[in-house]
Symmetry: C2
Subunit: 387 residues, 2 copies
C-alpha cells in the first residue's frame, strides 16, 4: 500500500553555540538550504513536520514548525511539531515519509531545530517526574553504568571507548558543519575532566544549537527535482525499554528496531556502507555497533580497535563527527543524520566522503531513564541511479 519515497533536498546550519540566533532563524536557514537543494518552490510543499524537544522548556516557544516554515514561504498546509526526545527530528522525518508513502502528499518537509546551549552551570534533567532523576540518575550517570557493565561483561577497555571520541573528533575536523574541529589523542580523552566514571568530558557529546531539514517526495516529483534522488528503504520507530533490566550492557530496543528496519529494507547489516548512530557517549556508539548488527554482542571494542568504523574502514560510523564532534542540538540531530547520509550517497560529502557509498543507515534513540521508556528510530537510505 505504501509507495516509494525519495529524499530530494537536504540542508543544515553549522552546529555550535549561537546565542544570538533564534530557533526561527536557525530553522529558516536549514529549510531554505533544503529547498534550494531540491530546486522546488516552497508552495509545492504540502505538509511540514518539525522536530524539537526542548523549545517549550528552554526558549518557552511553541508552534516552532509553523514559525520556521512561514519564514521560507511554506504556509496554508498541515504542520505539526513533534517531540520524541533525541529522536524528535527522526520521528518528524518518519511522519513526512508516512505522509508521502501513503499517497496523502507528494512533497513534505521535515525540519529539526534546537538550541540547548545554556548558561554555564545550568543543567537539563530528563523530567521532574522520575524518582531516578531526583536522586541524580541523569544521562552521564546512566551511560557510565552501562559502560561499567560493558567493561565487566565483555572486557571492553577505557582505551577502546576513548577511540570512539578520537575517531569522531577526527571526522569532525573534516566537516565544515561540525561544532568541534579539534583532534584529540586517546590520552587526552582519558585525562579530560571526569564526568561520571568512566566517562570523561571528551567522552560526552556537547550541548549545541542548530537545525537540519530534509524534503521527501514521490517518484513523479523526484524525477523533476534538481538533486540526485536518494530512496528511503526503511523507516522504523519503536518505543520500549532500552535494555532488558537484567542486562545494562545491551540496548534491547536497538535489536528490535534494527531487525524490523533490515526486513523492511530487504538488506542486512553487511550491506550498509556507512552509518550515523546515536553516539551521545562513547560507550553508546560501541553498544550501537552491536545493536544494529555491525558486529556480534561484546565485539564492539575489537571493531573500533581494528579501525573498521573509521572513514576508509569496512563500515564507517559517524563520518560527520557524530554527536560527539558535530554536536547535538537534540531535535535537529535525527534530521542532520539523514542529511549526512544523503550527502555521502550522492558523493557530496567533501573531505569526509565515504567512497562508493550506496546504502546508509541512521540510528538515533531518545528519552528513557532506567524506569522509563524511550524511542528509537532507524532509517535506511539507498542511492538510486534511476527513479
Amino acid at each position: 500500500m505504501m509507495r516509494d519515497v525519495l529524499v530530494i533536498g537536504v540542508g543544515m546550519t553549522q552546529f555550535g553555540k549561537f546565542p544570538e540566533r533564534s530557533l526561527r532563524d536557525l530553522g529558516r536557514e536549514a529549510c531554505w538550504s533544503a529547498l534550494k537543494d531540491s530546486g522546488i518552490q516552497p508552495g509545492r510543499v504540502e505538509a511540514g513536520f518539525c522536530g524539537n524537544a526542548l523549545g517549550g522548556r528552554v526558549q518557552k516557544e511553541h508552534g516552532i514548525g509553523q514559525s520556521v516554515l512561514w519564514e521560507v514561504g511554506i504556509r496554508g498546509i498541515p504542520i505539526i511539531n513533534i517531540e520524541n526526545a533525541c529522536a524528535s527530528g527522526s520521528s518528524a522525518f518518519r511522519e513526512a515519509w508516512i505522509g508521502v508513502a501513503s499517497g496523502m502528499y507528494d512533497v513534505a518537509i521535515a525540519v529539526g531545530v534546537e538550541k540547548t546551549v545554556m548558561k554555564k552551570g545550568t543543567m537539563l534533567d530528563i523530567g521532574d517526574a522520575d524518582l531516578e532523576v531526583k536522586i541524580g540518575d541523569v544521562f552521564p550517570g546512566l551511560f557510565a553504568m552501562r559502560a561499567q557493565r560493558h567493561m565487566y561483561e565483555y572486557g571492553t577497555t577505557l582505551e577502546q571507548m576513548a577511540k570512539v571520541s578520537v575517531k569522531n573528533h577526527h571526522n569532525g575536523c573534516l566537516n565544515p558543519y561540525a561544532q568541534y574541529k579539534k583532534e584529540f589523542t586517546v590520552e587526552e580523552v582519558l585525562h579530560s575532566t571526569m564526568i561520571a566514571d568512566p566517562l570523561t568530558l571528551y567522552s560526552c557529546c556537547p550541548n549545541s544549537d542548530g537545525a537540519a531539514a530534509a524534503i521527501v517526495a514521490s517518484k513523479n516529483v523526484a524525477k523533476k527535482s534538481s538533486a540526485k534522488p536518494i530512496k528511503l528503504l526503511a523507516s522504523v520507530l519503536s518505543t520500549g525499554l532500552y535494555h532488558n533490566k537484567k542486562d545494562l550492557a545491551m540496548f534491547d530496543l536497538d535489536f528490535k528496531v534494527a531487525e524490523k528496519a533490515y526486513e523492511m529494507a530487504g538488506v542486512g547489516p553487511e550491506d550498509i556502507n556507512l552509518a550515523e548512530v546515536h553516539d551521545a557517549f562513547t560507550i553508546a556508539e560501541l553498544m550501537h555497533y552491536e545493536g544494529v548488527g555491525f558486529c556480534k554482542v561484546g565485539e564492539s571494542g575489537r571493531l573500533i580497535d581494528e579501525g573498521e568504523t573509521e572513514i576508509g574502514g569496512r563500515i564507517p560510523v559517524s563520518p560527520s563527527g557524530g554527536l560527539q564532534a558535530k554536536g547535538h542540538p537534540v531535535g535537529a540531530s535525527g534530521v542532520a543524520q539523514i542529511v549526512e547520509i544523503v550527502w555521502h550517497l550522492r558523493g557530496e560529502a567533501g573531505l569526509r566522503q565515504v567512497a562508493n557509498a550506496r546504502i546508509g543507515l541512521a540510528h538515533i534513540m531518545g528519552g528513557g531513564t532506567e524506569g522509563d521508556v524511550g524511542a528509537c528510530t532507524i532509517h535506511i537510505l539507498e542511492r538510486v541511479d534511476e527513479i
Copy 2:
C-alpha cells in the same frame, strides 16, 4: 487511496484542578477508559499519538505519550508526541487517522493530556520570541480586540457575548466531566471581574487539568469492536494567519479549513447536528459560528439571541460546556471534543444529549498572535448504522 476510519473507543477524565495527579496518571485513566470502551486489548494498538502542549514547560516532562501508554500496556510500537498549541490533541487524532486511513496501521490511539493549573499569580504567555507578547499582547488582550472590532463592524452586543458563557455554563451543569457546574446569568457574566475590555472573567475559559483518548480503527477491526462505530468523514489541519490583518473580526483560517472539511466530508454546514468549537473566549465562539458556516458573517449575535446553538436548538454548539465550562487542558481539548461528539452520535451523552444527532463537527485552533501563525483543525464525524 485513503480508506475508511472509524472511532471505536473513547474516554476521558473529569476536567478540573488536580494538583495531586500527574500527566501520566491522567493520561492513563483516559486511555484505559477508551480501551475498555472499545473492547480491544492494549496489544492490538499499533501506533500512539500524544497531544500535549505545555508539559515541557510547566511539568518539565518529555516523552509523555510513551509514559502514558506504557502504563496501559501499549508498548513496542511507534509513539510520537505532538505539540500544536490548543490544536495539539486534534493534531494527534489526525495523525492517528492518517496512520489508519493509509493502511499503515489497523488500530491507533490518540491521547491528549495536559495540566495547566498553576500557582496563583503565575501566567502562561505565548512565547518569549514575540514582540507582541513582550508588550502585553497575550490571549485575553487579543480576543478583546477581536470583540471590540466585531461589536464595531456588526453591532454585536455585550449581552450576546455573555449569552455564550451562560449557555455553555448551563451545558456544563449537565456534564459530569465538566470542571464548572454552575449556572450564570447574563448580568453575572457582565459584572464579573474585567480581564480585557470587553471580556470579563466569566467570558474566558479556565486553566484546567485533564486527559482524553480516542481509538481509531479500520473497518475490519471496527466490526469486532464492542462500541457503536462512528465514521470519520473529514480531518483537516492547516496553518495560516488567523485573520486577514485588515479584518480582526473574522478568522480567515476558519473559512479555509471549513471549506476543505466540508468538501472532504461531502456535507455542508446545514447537515451538522452538533458542534464543539474553540470557545476559549465568548467572542471566539461567536466568530467560529461564522467561520464554520453556521450563519453568515456578522450574524452570530442573532444566532445566540435566537437560541439556535442551545441544546434543543437548530445547531447545538458546545453541548459539553465547551472550553468555558468543561475546561481547557490545552493538549487534551482537541481529543475531548472528539469524545463528546462520539458520545452524542452514539446517543450516550446523558442529560445533555442532542436528540437524533447523526453528524457532528469538532473545531479547534491553536497558537497565533497578531504577528504569528496558528493551526486550525476541523473533524467531521458521522453515526453509521452498519460498517
